[in-house]
């Protein structure tokens, strides 16, 4: 190991990355852009569901029932219908996602102690959103039913409404959400996006940086010189590890200050763990770069092997524990999952090495194994 040669390779690499406009954008701007785009785009909260209502009864009770929907922050009232046939085109065009139709004699039949069906049409294209919408409708509906029941009990037995409430609802649920107290999906998604962004930008930068030399032929300067394989790989990867570590800090700042996600853990632990992750994800890039010849191939392969498993198996959108056993096995093969545990753990749970040491160890193993494989595959005298 000769430090002068490592410094020569590293400083050359740094200068090129900073001066080449493409690489500069890739290195410094793309991660920020990704964070912004996905941070706003990947929020899965279902709110402001556009809906329309048809009130065939036009009574005090029917208005009361519909008023509850208008009051909810989950629904956005788009207007009253005059005919059932108007609902279809509105739903088809996506202008509304739900329609509530109150039949004639709604009040009359309720007061007569009969059940009434309220027809609810819900756009079923996205099952997740549909389920959530249905859940909101059911919640509003049962709240209304409850009140009717409480009224009935208090009138029938002649007790106060409060007492009637106790009778109607003897057990009350008291739910307290831990870690993500307001159950905001952005709190859960944004820390994972730090993982996603680093998982994509580090290998991409590394793979393109090395393959670029292969493509132009400047790699022959390395092949034909006396610089050793270790010196070259060390010097070549150093700037990318530095840039990616800087990006980890920038992304942390964006997550906490811009997106307002609380950081409850130890910052030092987070930074060290991030460095280990950067070391392992640059290793992925190194591996790709040794297998392909052109930058375009490097780009495609990196995106495929870094992006697809990360979206599917890293716990970014779906928790690993709710995946099928086969998918869970695959999830353990990619570094993304371990770092997701680390970012969510440090941001939201405030835990550190005492819990997350297995994840850090897995990432460290990753970094070491990828480098060993890379060292074996890299040859200064190719076929």
């Amino acid at each position: 190991m000769n430090l002068r040669r490592i410094a020569a390779v590293a400083s050359k690499e740094w200068r090129e990355t900073v001066r080449d406009r493409m690489f500069f954008l890739l290195a410094f701007l793309l991660p920020i852009l990704w964070m912004l785009v996905f941070g706003y785009g990947l929020v899965l909260d279902v709110e402001n569901i556009p809906y329309a209502a048809l009130d065939r009864d036009q009574s005090a009770l029917s208005r009361d029932y519909l008023y509850r929907f208008q009051q909810s922050r989950y629904f956005d009232f788009k207007g009253a219908l005059t005919d059932e046939r108007e609902a279809d085109p509105l739903l088809a065009s996506g202008r509304i996602r739900a329609a509530i139709i109150i039949p004639e004699k709604f009040q009359e039949r309720l007061n007569a102690g009969q059940t009434v069906g309220v027809q609810t049409l819900i756009d079923g294209i996205f099952p997740l959103r549909t389920d959530i919408t249905k859940g909101y409708v059911i919640a509003i509906n049962s709240a209304f039913n409850e009140e009717r029941l409480v009224d009935y009990i208090s009138r029938r037995i002649g007790i106060s409404r409060t007492q009637a409430e106790y009778r109607a609802q003897p057990i009350k649920l008291e739910v307290r959400y831990l870690y993500n107290e307001e159950v905001r999906s952005s709190w859960s998604i944004v820390p994972a996006l730090v993982m996603f962004t680093l998982m994509l930008s580090c290998p991409l930068l590394t793979a393109l940086g090395i393959v670029r030399e292969k493509e132009t032929g400047s790699i022959y300067n390395i092949y034909s010189s006396t610089v050793t394989k270790i010196e070259f790989l060390f010097g070549k990867l150093l700037p990318y590890v530095l840039i990616s570590s800087m990006n980890a800090v920038v992304l942390w700042i964006m997550a906490t200050l811009w997106f307002g996600v609380p950081f409850k853990g130890n910052l030092l632990f987070f930074l060290v763990a991030s460095l280990v992750f950067v070391l392992s994800s640059t290793g992925v890039g190194l591996l790709v770069s040794l297998l392909v010849r052109t930058q375009i191939a490097a780009l495609l392969i990196t995106i495929i092997i870094a992006m697809v498993p990360t979206i599917l198996f890293s716990g970014l959108i779906v928790p690993v524990s709710s995946l099928s056993p086969g998918s869970q096995f695959q999830a353990h093969l990619f570094p993304g999952m371990y770092y997701t545990n680390i970012v969510r753990g440090t941001f939201l749970k405030g835990i550190g090495l005492e819990v997350l040491w297995t994840d850090v160890l897995a990432l460290a193993l990753y970094a070491v194994i990828l480098r060993l494989v890379g060292y074996r595959l890299f040859t200064k005298r190719p076929r």
């Binding site: 050359k12 001066r19 034909s224 006396t226 610089v227 005298r381």
Partner: protein
Amino acid sequence: MTTTARYDNGEAASVVLEQPIVRVSGFVKRYKKHVAVQGVDVAIRKGEIYGLIGPDGAGKSSLMKAIAGVLTYDEGTVEVFGTVVDSERAAERVKQRIGFLPQGLGLNLYPDLSVEENIDFFARLRLVPEQELLERKARLLAMTRLEKFRNRAMKNLSGGMKQKLGLICTLIHEPELAILDEPTTGVDPVSRRDFWSILAELLQEKGMTALVSTAYMDEAARFHRLSFLSNGKVLVSGTPTEVQALVPGSMVTFEASPQLEAITRLKQTFQQVEALGPRLHVFTKDLDPAQAVQHIEASLGDIKPDQVRVDDPELEDVFVSLLLQQAENRQVSAIPSAAKPTDNHGLAIEARQLVRDFGPFRAVDHVSFQVKQGEIFGLLGANGAGKTTVIKMLNGILPPTGGEGWVAGADMKTAGGTIKERIGYMSQAFSLYLDLTVVENIRLFAGIYGLDGRATDQRLNWVMSMAGLKGYESNLTGRLPMGVRQRLALGCALVHQPRVLFLDEPTSGVDPIGRRHFWDILSKLAREEGVAILVTTHYMSEAEHCDQLALMYAGRIVAEGSPGDMKQGVEKEAGHLFEVVADDPGKALLELRRAGFAGAALYGTRIHLFCRDPVRDKDCACGVLESSGVKVRSASMRPLSLEDVFVYKVMALERQDRATTQEAAA
């Protein structure tokens, strides 16, 4: 350890006979099933410039990479500095003593780094001590005149400058063996000459050895010894003189008319007959000039040769005749006569005071020329001289800033569409679809030009026999040899029977026989079909084929005329070209320059210089050498090549430019 080796080396340079430092025997390299090199033997001695010459795909690069220790090989042995390079470990042992410049102009340099940063990177990679680096850098930058550009990013350098920077970076650690893969490809003749003289000087000074490859046959004379490669085999090896002696004979140049009839008659007896503009160029096996002329007159019959001149054959002629001996008899394609177009003897192309500005930069500056129907017109010039811009304007692709032009009777300003129908265009890149077969490509181009079914079949047959493509009909274009691919591209450019043909650097990477075949077709097209051809080229030996030439420099036409006229003009101005063979050519060169022969240049072991007065100056030069103790073996007059003309003209203009800028500065 390395320093002592270097001293040994310096002393050893004067010792002529010794063990070769590179010994390659039975070298075989395969890429999957394709055999790139099959059984090559090469031995390189200390202190020499060894040349590998051959067309693209001959196997030069594979051999050089294997010697540099950056490529594995399949059979044979490669021994460098006494070490058998058969593993990565063994290769590492010799790498400090080797400098390797891979193929591709400036491709191994870092575009976003400055000239100085590039040099520093290479030096530090090789652990050159900082103090030595400073000294060497200063000297090499001064020598290559790159000093002013120290801080310029490499991507903003011209081709010639990139090439010189590549050389500096390869030699900064003062290797004992420099391996340079096609360092002169894609560079204009002036920069190329500059490069050779810098290389020769550096090698001489440091006692370095160099292995250099080139696709330019006319550079063969630059080497001490050389190997000519073709299809992965060495065809011939030795010193230029030895190679020349293998195929004894003479080159007879004369004018004869009617030219086409003369060629037909000559081809019955002689294998190598070339039309160079109005002149014919024939290789005979006779050594005696009188006998050679006699033989030619005999085969010409009643056609009388005019302005006969007999010279020694060039190395390129030797290579061609060696290749011909090897190859089975090639079919000579006859151009089937298409319906004769109306012969109006008008001008096919006329450019009048063309000007084109790009922002404040004037790319083309009042360019005027005329090309007659049936004429081959060559546009020469260094990269960036404005050749391509002129062609683009004439084709109606680029509007001119000023001036006017007519192509095939249409005004280029108003009738761009008409022009495109009447011209054929073929570029360096051969705009063919590599995944289509030969016939599919021709049909595609016929379709693009809107030929109907009957016309397409007719033209398809014409193109197939004109370009000698019979037998290749259903081959994929990507698998064709370069020479065949080039003829197919020409055929596609001619499918709609254009009256005017534009060729933009059409023959890069084609072997000499393929190139000659190509030019045979072009001159037939011009003579028989009356097609006007405008061609741009870097190969000065190709410019000889043109009827008229125009030399562009900095956007202007600075010289015009037939090749013969241009040579005569330079001979009048600068004198005749002499070749001096002397012991210790390095010292001889210095002495000659000191005596005032500024243009003296080293060609392998020989020296070229201009003498204004053939008798007096020659005696003077010989006297200078003898008095300083250099023995002169011979000094003889040589015919000027067009490259000499080009270099002379451009150098004169550059001097003029420098003088005016200095005046302006003062």
